[in-house]
């Protein structure tokens, strides 16, 4: 998979790596049992300090997303998918909260905000989502009301 790192952003580089790995797992790009590239290879590929990459891997290991396989490297755990999805939801939830907060602090009324939200949702529901892995129908249906 390919990573893109923004050196200038507030978020630490290793955290960006961690999040992108998690999102990839959540989206299905990285499957359980798949081997991550070695620290050396990955650091060369993304042009980042190996220590940063190592720290990211460490963080992923701590979060239980990957585990170290002797002699082979880091491998994605089975349970990682659910974890990552949860995390992704949390991140998205925070993001939506952030946008809403920004709109509220800018002076928009609740009704206005709601109108914008409904508008967007209506447009989005017309098309199928671009998710790779099969989401549960229940979640999906619940969201289309």
């Amino acid at each position: 998979m390919f990573f893109s790192v923004d050196v200038q952003s507030d978020v630490a580089i290793y955290l960006q790596l961690v999040r992108q790995v998690k999102f990839a797992i959540a989206a299905g790009t990285l499957r359980p049992g798949q081997l991550l590239p070695s620290v050396r290879a990955l650091s060369g590929q993304v042009a980042l300090n190996p220590n940063t990459v190592a720290r990211a891997f460490g963080q992923l290991q701590t979060d239980g997303v990957v585990e170290s396989l002797r002699g082979r490297g880091m491998v994605v755990r089975e349970e990682a998918v659910a974890l990552c999805r949860q995390e992704r939801e949390a991140v998205l939830r925070e993001r939506i909260g952030g946008v809403l907060g920004e709109a509220w602090n800018a002076g928009l009324s609740k009704a206005q905000i709601k109108t914008f939200v409904d508008e967007h949702l209506r447009a989005l529901c017309q098309q199928p989502p671009a998710v790779l892995a099969a989401a549960t129908d229940a979640e999906h249906q619940a969201g289309s009301d």
């Binding site: 050196v7 630490a12 050396r40 060369g44 300090n49």
Partner: protein, 299 residues
């Protein structure tokens, strides 16, 4: 682990200026150390002292445990050095200069050099005179790395080169770090430094202003913007242990770069009279650099 490079109160006075005024550094092995500074801050002088080409006015330093003054040859055997605009023999071909250098090292030099040259896509039979700047830099890098030095010292090697060459250099540095060797980088390319450095130091007017792990530094320095109702409103600076690096005012906004910011301080400002808004952001390395080397110094 013993630090691979140490300097102790290194001072260098020239006739017209003072290049270094008491520099203390300590670089751990296996890390990428980046030295930032304006042009003329003394970076090249420091490197010349480390490589044994210049005698300092006072102070001492060691490289791989060897004093460059006493035994410069031993130091140079341990390091690989690439400067900007490296001076190679123009009339030799790439292959010839490789062979020439290889004869002074052991057998592993030449194959590694050949491999590097092939990787960089430089034709061995071309004369160095006819190479482009980027290709010259690559040849110099290959020559410096082929004997697997413990420390790789780079003095602005990619100044004026295209992004592809810079990328090659970056990859080489990362590779060295990944295999546990040390890299000492003196550069202006802040974006590259942000990607590749473990530790950075900022040299300003011969003194070290900032020295520490990059991640820590980035996390510890914030840009604080305070909007007030009145441009002349006085705002109390943050208490110890926070440190204000620079301060700038524009209209009704005030911008501070603060090191060691606490959330309570933000609250304190928010509740200060006349303050309309307080925004904070983690400072980028470039902003840190400008803040450390600006004229309006709090210290």
């Amino acid at each position: 682990m013993d630090p691979v490079i140490t300097t102790d109160a290194l001072t260098m006075h020239f006739r017209r200026c003072d290049a270094l005024m008491g520099v203390d550094l300590s670089i751990q092995p296996g890390t990428v150390f980046a030295l930032l500074g304006e042009n003329g801050a003394g970076k090249t002088t420091l490197i010349r002292i480390l490589t044994g080409f210049q005698e300092p006015t006072s102070g001492s330093c060691t490289v791989c445990g060897i004093d460059p003054l006493r035994d410069p040859q031993a130091v140079r055997r341990q390091i690989g050095y690439v400067s900007d605009a490296p001076a190679l023999y123009d009339w030799m071909t790439v292959a010839q200069i490789g062979g020439f250098t290889a004869s002074f090292y052991d057998q592993t030099f030449l194959p590694q050099y050949e491999a590097a040259i092939r990787r960089y896509d430089v034709r061995p039979e071309q004369k160095i005179r006819h190479l482009s700047k980027g290709q010259r830099a690559k040849v110099a890098l290959s020559l410096a790395l082929a004997h697997d030095p413990a420390v790789l010292i780079l003095d602005e090697p990619t100044s004026g080169l295209d992004p592809k060459v810079r990328r090659s250099f970056l990859e080489s540095m990362i590779d060295r770090a990944a295999t546990g060797r040390t890299v000492f980088l003196s550069s202006h390319q802040i974006s590259e430094v942000e990607r590749v450095a473990d530790t950075i130091a900022i040299l300003h007017r011969g003194r070290i202003r900032l020295h520490g792990q990059l991640s820590e530094l980035r996390e510890s320095i914030h840009e604080v913007i305070i909007d007030t109702d009145d441009p002349l409103r006085a705002i109390a600076p943050p208490p110890e242990p926070a440190e204000v690096l620079t301060e700038e005012t524009s209209g009704r906004s005030r911008q501070w770069f603060v090191r060691g910011l606490d959330p309570e301080m933000i609250q304190a400002w928010r509740s200060s009279p006349g303050v309309t808004d307080v925004r904070t952001r983690v400072a980028s390395l470039e902003e840190i650099f400008v803040a450390c080397t600006g004229e309006l110094q709090a210290v």
